[in-house]
Symmetry: C2
Subunit: 101 residues, 2 copies
DNA sequence: TAGAAATATCGAGAAAACCCGATATATATT
DNA sequence: AATATATATCGGGTTTTCTCGATATTTCTA
């Protein structure tokens, strides 16, 4: 768990936005269950991409950055990759900052 | 309080180090009270600079970055500028991450 | 098996961060 | 007033990040 890597991942408006959207998928991606294989392991890249307005490659890369930092988990199912927040890691980060920063 | 600016400030090994040193000045800067005007508003730039091994200009800039992010407070007294952690802001950040990230 | 759809990776130009040396500014001392 | 000390700012070379378009890979479907 590299602190610098985590903070780098968070040091970007779009990535913070994505992380925030993933808190409430049904709110921010109304049809996220209907349109890419009704599931419960997160939101697929395409939905995030369309909402963000960034290109597909950029969003794919940003999600990879968040994942490498441990802030989200990725699950590939068929042709889709679903991303969801890693709540445990995020909570741990809050703890770490409040106590050991 | 710009989140991105805060995370950018934290996304650097040397700055994290400095923030950590400032948690316990007497431990990390044994003579910080003796050699630059015995005071209680923090540690002067020179001490931080010597311990970090970075150049004076770099450390001055880094401290400014931390200050702009609200993570430290600066107090100029005479020819010295003393820096100390802004514990309130840091605690608030921990809260924010644990709840609203 | 050929084509379509979703995602990942590659290559690159622009912008920002890193970190330095040199110089400027502010304050203290003599 | 001249000099010394502490810090801040400036200019710039180097590295990293940002973000894109193009292409590759994987999986699904006809």
């Amino acid at each position: 768990m590299d602190q610098v890597e985590i903070f780098k991942a968070l040091a970007n408006k779009a990535r913070l936005q994505i992380l925030n959207w993933l808190k409430e998928p049904e709110t921010h991606f109304p049809d996220y269950k209907a349109s890419c294989g009704d599931n419960s392991v997160g939101v697929c890249v395409g939905h995030i991409q369309r909402k963000s307005g960034l290109t597909q490659s950029t969003v794919s890369e940003y999600l990879a950055v968040l994942q490498r930092a441990g802030l989200v988990n990725a699950t590939r199912i068929g042709q889709w990759t679903y991303y969801q927040r890693n709540e445990i890691a995020i909570k741990a980060l809050g703890q770490l900052i409040a106590t050991s920063l």
